[in-house]
């Protein structure tokens, strides 16, 4: 038993080492600066946590005793720590010896190694490194292994005791967003030097973590008054974010929340109704272009000519941003119905292919209808929103608007989820025939899913156009659909808070990691694969999904479906006593 725990530790340590090597080689330390080593250690702890908890089954969590677990964790940490320390020291030696490794390993620059040692790059070149620093790195990563064990143990404790009995961890979860918010605000103080050049990045990261942890805090709170009070406090705290973040940070958050709006809409189509729509970008594009036509008619040759011939001046916005909202949404919704009608009878992969085609058709239409859309040159000078004569076009205002938009859509989605229509969607997703036989009008239910999803994408598209002010067909490629679908899946299909987390993870984090841009796609692809294995239901799944994928709620398993393997007390069946 002890030997097996040890071997498991070796294996997990080696895996962690491989991941760390990859992260170092793609230049993550440079990006993180002073906090490189702590962040790597934190990441390692998370890797250990995932590896130690042992797959997805509840049993794996429940049946491993603390002592062998600790042995495994400590071994893994020690292995990863020593190997990584050796690797870093090795690179440092090479660099100090004047070996030019760049042709082979393009990110092993002195800066990268310096970040790991917490010294200036010059020190690496001269070989003037703290002597015992490798030990510090090894210890830090060993500690990460132990933290991983603690995470597994506390997760287990939480599951067994359930949230309602309270506990320190529950309160920590509830307090975490406030701690992070305070940290964000504190980092905004110009006198603070933490993070050096990367202070802004650190701040953005903390802001995103604050939003993400707020969602977990809400889940940890007891339903009822505690949850309501917490929600109010969190809302107040988060509402302060746009006012404390700088332009760049706000602009990243703006795009993240535009994608939250998109994700919430697609979540209705895919998560609630189970219709795999890969052409979702079409409605985003429709929203953006319709708003562009309305606010900058002069940019479109055909449209401005038409207006002029009707005697309507085309040299300024036709209507305000606010008045345009119903028009863009309804147009996009109509697009949703138009897409829905031909695909009513399609399911699964066929549906995916046809909708994918629809998305591309809209883009090609925008690209080739030059008279109307100005083709690849795009529509320029789209108007920002105005309120009482003030422009709301700067990143902070766009972030606020996106927050509001996402809030409204989230509320609508939440109401829909519990509604009659929501139940019809679920039934349809499960079994179309039976749903119909229980009285669900399939045509209407499907079209409503497409239309409502499209409405929300249209609103997101309008806000996007107002944010960009110039829009081009290239803004609306298939990748927008794919990104949106990914964030829905990563967050947890069908889960509303999951969408927010998914958007933060897939749209926000890459912005933070701009420095490792070229490796972004690979890194995220790998993350996605790992996630789908460890947590197929998403980061923050809806309770129903979790039930679907983890067999929670009953001892019987799938295979029981056909066997009448019934317990002996079965005779109570006909209502009589045994």
């Amino acid at each position: 038993m002890r030997l097996r725990s040890f071997q498991r530790g070796l294996r997990i340590g080696a895996i962690a080492f491989a991941i760390l090597t990859y992260l170092i080689l793609i230049g993550l330390p440079t990006r993180l600066g002073v906090v490189a080593m702590p962040v790597l250690a934190l990441l390692t702890a998370l890797i250990f946590w995932v590896a130690l908890r042992g797959g997805k089954s509840k049993q794996a969590l429940a049946y491993r005793a603390p002592a062998p677990l600790l042995l495994t964790g400590a071994t893994a940490g020690l292995v990863a720590g020593l190997l990584t320390a050796a690797l870093i020291a090795g690179f440092a030696r090479l660099l100090a010896a004047g070996v030019n490794v760049q042709p082979y390993l393009d990110k092993i620059v002195p800066m990268n190694i310096a970040a790991l040692y917490g010294v200036m790059p010059g020190a690496v070149v001269t070989g003037d490194l703290p002597a015992w620093s490798w030990l510090w790195q090894a210890i830090l990563l060993t500690l990460a292994g132990i933290v991983g064990v603690l995470l597994v143990l506390s997760e287990r404790a939480l599951r067994q005791r359930t949230w309602s009995t309270g506990g320190t961890l529950r309160w920590l979860t509830i307090l975490l967003p406030f701690i992070l918010l305070t940290f964000v605000i504190w980092l905004g103080n110009p006198d603070v030097t933490l993070g050096g050049n990367n202070r802004g990045t650190l701040r953005l990261l903390a802001a995103m973590a604050a939003i993400g942890s707020a969602l977990f805090a809400l889940r940890a709170a007891r339903p009822g008054r505690e949850q309501r009070v917490l929600a109010l406090l969190l809302l107040l705290g988060l509402a302060y974010l746009p006012f404390t973040l700088d332009q760049f940070q706000n602009s990243v958050m703006g795009i993240v929340f535009i994608f939250v709006m998109m994700g919430l809409g697609l979540n209705i189509v895919v998560g609630f109704a189970g219709l795999l729509d890969l052409g979702y970008v079409a409605f985003f594009a429709i929203g953006a272009y319709v708003y562009a036509f309305l606010s900058a008619p002069f940019a479109s040759p055909a449209f401005s000519a038409l207006l002029t011939s009707l005697g309507i001046p085309a040299d300024g916005p036709l209507i305000s941003f606010w008045a345009a909202i119903p028009i863009t949404m309804l147009t996009a919704g109509l697009g949703g119905v138009l897409l829905g009608i031909p695909v009513l009878r399609l399911r699964g992969d066929y549906l995916a292919i046809v909708t994918l085609g629809f998305g591309e058709i809209i883009r090609l239409f925008m690209l080739n209808m030059s008279d109307l859309t100005n083709g690849p040159r795009g529509l320029l000078n789209v108007a920002p929103p105005y309120l009482f004569g003030y422009s709301l076009g700067n990143p902070r205002d766009i972030f606020i608007l996106a927050l509001l938009g996402a809030g409204v859509i989230a509320f609508a989605a939440y109401r829909l989820d519990g509604s009659r229509l929501g139940r019809a969607w679920i039934a349809m997703r499960e079994d179309e025939d039976v749903a119909q036989a229980t009285g669900v009008n399939l045509v209407q239910t499907k079209l409503l899913a497409f239309a409502i999803g499209a409405l929300f994408a249209g609103l997101a598209g309008q806000l996007y156009a107002a944010r960009q002010t110039n829009i081009f067909p290239d803004n609306f490629t298939l990748f927008v659909s794919v990104d949106t679908l990914s964030l829905v899946i990563v967050g947890g299909m069908g889960s509303i808070p999951g969408v927010v987390l998914g958007a933060l993870a897939l749209k926000g984090l890459p912005e933070v990691l701009r420095g490792i841009d070229e490796y972004r796609i690979v890194t995220f692809a790998a993350l996605l694969v790992v996630m789908m294995i460890v947590r197929p239901e998403g980061i923050l799944p809806s309770t129903r999904r979790r039930r679907e994928l983890h067999d929670i709620g009953g001892p019987a398993s799938e295979s029981a479906a056909l066997e009448p393997a019934l317990p002996s007390d079965y005779r109570t069946l006909d209502g009589g006593k045994p």
Partner: protein, 234 residues
């Protein structure tokens, strides 16, 4: 109550029902038996509107229903427990039952029927919050029947309720079917298990390759040499 008059149903070019006529009177249990592939399931799916007949009429209380979409037929009081149960595997037992009452809006009535169904199937009460897919085969069958009852049907279509169940359980399920019938629900029962089906039914139809080949009171059909040979092993 229900009349099928010369019904022809196709799967594309496959002629599955070749002029099926049958009637079900109010309060009856009528059983439809026949070998595999005879068209029994097709008949039920045609009645409930999931398949559209290419020719012939279906009348419910004298009014034609063959043109109506399935969800409207449900609202007229026909409900079915489909072949292979097909419960919503990822919904809980309770949600499955609620889904059965989807077409209704009378909350009090639904609650009442929920209680009635749980009384009929006490096993389900213990498992209200378990998801459907984790139920045993027998429990799933009860759930499928319970779900069908939740729409408070006038006519209940049952497609092989005994499929895959142990003999003891088969007997109990049929007892429940009789109970349901006594509570005033008319039943059209499709079964492979001809012997038991004929023993609880009032009347019976025998189907072969898409057509009715024999009809009559259940006792007569049970006694007919043709049926004894083909379905009851001599």
């Amino acid at each position: 109550m229900l009349v099928l008059d010369q019904i022809h149903t196709y799967y594309d070019r496959i002629h599955a029902l070749k002029g099926v006529s049958l009637t079900v009177e109010r309060g009856e249990i009528v059983t439809l038996i026949g070998s595999n592939g005879a068209g029994k399931t097709t008949t039920l799916r045609t009645i409930s509107g999931l398949l559209k007949p290419r020719a012939g009429n279906i009348l419910l209380e004298g009014a034609p229903i063959d043109e109506l979409p399935a969800h409207e037929i449900t609202r007229l009081g026909i409900s079915q427990s489909p072949e292979g149960r097909r419960i919503f595997a990822r919904l809980t037992v309770e949600e499955n039952l609620e889904m059965g009452a989807f077409a209704r809006s009378d909350k009090a009535g639904i609650r009442q029927d929920m209680a009635r169904v749980l009384e009929l199937f006490p096993r389900l009460r213990e498992r209200l919050h378990q998801r459907g897919g984790t139920l045993s085969g027998g429990e799933q069958q009860m759930l499928a029947m319970g779900r069908a009852l939740m729409s408070r049907p006038r006519l209940l279509l049952l497609d092989e309720p005994s499929m895959g169940l142990a003999p003891l359980l088969v007997e109990q399920i049929f007892q429940i079917i009789r109970n349901i019938n006594e509570q005033g629900v008319t039943i059209l029962l499709v079964e492979q298990n001809a012997h038991v089906a004929l023993s609880i039914a009032h009347r019976a139809y025998v189907m072969e390759t898409g057509a009715i080949v024999l009809a009559g009171p259940a006792a007569d059909v049970l006694a007919s040499p043709q049926v004894r040979e083909a379905y009851l092993g001599g």
